[in-house]
């Protein structure tokens, strides 16, 4: 009985394998594609070596594949192309020297923006009278009523204040 089941299983498995295997050749390995996508096609506008239909890009893809097959590292391949075409070929410019400003200027801008925003909020708060603040506290902060009740009040207050209100 056990043998019969095993044979049946084996037959099933064999049956699943097609008579002639027609698996495809993979011309460019995933690593090659990744490297090609990190390089700009030098003669195109805004396309990577991976995506460009130009002949140069096609040759470059083949060169990358050869180098990958020859066991060269990603960095070696990248510097090979940088030597020939300049840093402009890298889609992700190297994080060193002048290029660091690319990264730090946004960070600095965000920090300055946050600082301005912070001072604006604190300063404005200081200017208004404390008594007023207490009185104008939001209705939803009142101690009475259920959550829904509070929401309802806020909801209706929003309606009243929206631009749909009758003039």
């Amino acid at each position: 009985m056990k043998r019969k089941v095993l044979l049946l299983l084996l037959a099933l498995i064999v049956g699943l394998i097609p008579a002639v295997s027609l698996a495809a050749v993979e011309t460019l390995s995933p690593q090659t594609l990744e490297i090609a996508n990190s390089l700009n096609c030098p003669i195109c506008e805004g396309e990577s070596v991976r995506d460009s239909h130009s002949q140069l890009a096609q040759q470059m893809r083949e060169v990358i594949q050869e180098k990958v097959d020859a066991g060269e590292s990603r960095d070696q391949i990248m510097s090979y192309f940088v030597d020939r075409y300049g840093v402009g070929i890298l889609r992700d410019p190297p994080k060193s020297g002048f290029v660091l400003t690319l990264w730090w200027v946004p960070v600095a801008a965000l920090a300055i923006g946050a600082l301005i925003l912070g001072t604006f909020m604190v300063q404005k708060r200081g200017r208004s009278k404390p008594g007023e603040t207490e009185r104008s506290g939001d209705a939803s902060d009142g101690p009475s009523g259920s959550d829904l009740q509070r929401y309802q009040e806020r909801f209706l207050a929003d309606l009243e204040n929206s631009d749909m209100r009758a003039p």
Binding site: L22, A23, A24, V25, E26, T27, S29, P30, T32, L33, S38, E45, G46, E47, S48, R50, D51, H53, G86, V87, G88, I89, L90, R91, D92, P93, F98, V99, L102, W103, P106, A109, L110, L117, F120, M121, V122, K124, R125, S128, T133, S136, G137, D138, S140, D141, L148, R150, Y151, Q152, R154, F155, L156, L159, E160, S162, D163, M164, A166, P167
Partner: protein, 667 residues
Amino acid sequence: MAQLGSGALIIALALAIYGILAGVIGARRNVPELVDSAVRAVWGVTALILVAAASLITAFATHDFRLVYVAGRSSVDMPLHYVLAAFYGGQEGSLLYWSMIAGLLSSLALLLHRQRDRALVPYMAATVLSVETFLLVILTVVASPFTLYPAALTPTNGVGLNPLLRDPGMMAHPPFLLAGFASFTVPFGFAMAALITGRLGSDWIRAIRRWALVSWGILGVGLLLGAWWAYHVLGWGGYWGWDPVENVALLPWLTATAFIHSVIVQERRGMLKVWNMSLVVASFILSVFGTFTVRSGLISSVHSFAVSPLGPWFLGYLSLVIIVAVGLVVYRIPGLQSDRAIESVVSRESGFLVNNLLFTALAFVTFWGTVFPLVSELFRDTKLTVGPPFYDQVNGPILLALLVLMGIGPLLAWRKSSPRLLLKNLFWPVMAGLIVIPPLLYFLRAPIPVIALAVTVFGLGTVVLEYVRGARVRRRNTGESYPRAVVMLVRKNGRRYGGYIVHIAMALLAFGIIGSHFFQVERQFTLNPGETATIRGYTLTYQGLENRMTVEGQVIGAKLAVAKNGVHRGDLESYRFFYRNYENQPTARMGIKSVGLDDVYVVLDQWDTTGNSQVVSLRIFINPLVNWIWLGGVVYVIGMLTLLWPAPSPARQRTASPVREAVLREA
């Protein structure tokens, strides 16, 4: 036709200059007749531009190749819809289209507001006409679409449209995007009028808000259509490549998004007047910058088919607008002081301020990355490229922060929120976000996208909570069923609940972007007919190559059958096109088959048609959740229309008051 068109443009230019003078003098000397005349000048200029546009379209439709513009962009064998779309397929035509949309929307705005906002009208008209004057100078002097060939040189057939533009996307993306740019003329006109007159009360802010929403909506649709076009044509498996031209189109959308949030603070609390003015002005300036960057070829991009000598003109105009607008804002700063102050850091106001900080940061980063190659070339003499990795790493976290804020902001109360209550309100959305983490982590095994997905769920949770609570309130007061209560919520308070519809759209976009960004796989295969390629559970069987000639050129198509786990799920075909006159610029249409949450996306890379061989080289992508982006686009349009839908009439609105009184008595 050419004489009619160019004649109309010259008269329009003269009329525009007259209108500016009439508006300004009429307002200064208080001559209502002159002011009316300026308004009519806007309508007249628009009508004349329409005449010019109609004559250009007629020239295309009748294949009048005496016109250089028509001969350079169309041919007799092109299908009629592309012949007509070629109208905006080059820079002269697209600028004519720009001025036409600006004119039409401004005319409509003046028609609607001419009675109510009387004081603003003359300067609004003058501002719009100054924009038109600039464009008309360009269209008559520098880049006329009506330039003729000398009689002897008139070609018998045109060259045809640039192949990249021969796609159904051409019918929708450029008209929306250009209209989005052009439409910022209207809020800019209102803003300038308010700044010049010093009438900075809240009456005009509603008009500006409404028209800024229109621009924001149109531009957003244009951007989404562009993403969709790029996805099925450009063949890099994506929909957004942080290409400079994409970036500059995104910039005004970002500042406009910031504005439609912060304007709420001004309406409710009388704050941020200077800031809101600056955002409106910035959106217009960035629209001009966007138009200019596409035309100038200043920055290398996939859109560089429209390079021209217009650069200096646009740069000059841009500088002029910046100087005048910034000068006016600075001059009016004393009059733009806040009526009130911020009372608490934990308040809706602060939420909107942080929102604005993040949106302007996004705009700044995008702008900085776009112009950095120029900066580098100027100061260091090195050619650099700032590609997607920079934007992913810098804008990614900002977008994530915006999603967090989308979850918190709506729960904040105006003026002052008690932290205790806020935490209580946050309970369910936070729980929703936390609950999805373990299963997602188990299936996806990558922490960063899981965090991003959880944050998106959190943001969506807040929107759902808002609808649920709003519907419960309505149900309690009116006894409506829940579905009806939700519909009525949106109808009665379209601004708030329509805004949340846009938030839902953003969450859907976020899911789509996270899914396709982090979980895309791609492989390259070389296949003979009958062979299969296997990629992440999908089996693609190559069925053969199709090679045919059409009137327009040659079409190559590879047919594949898609199966998942052995079950056939459909067929797809990936094409390459070689158009007549553009054989060296092949274009493509990707084979895309949506299976469940995934898109199977096939790029026809290389092929061999010698003899009987039909070997092809294909690049196959599996793109998860991309469909959610398109779904998000549809929801965005619904939300935008809800926001623009006229508010219920005041008479109907008053019925809300007895309910409120009843509620207060009950309390």
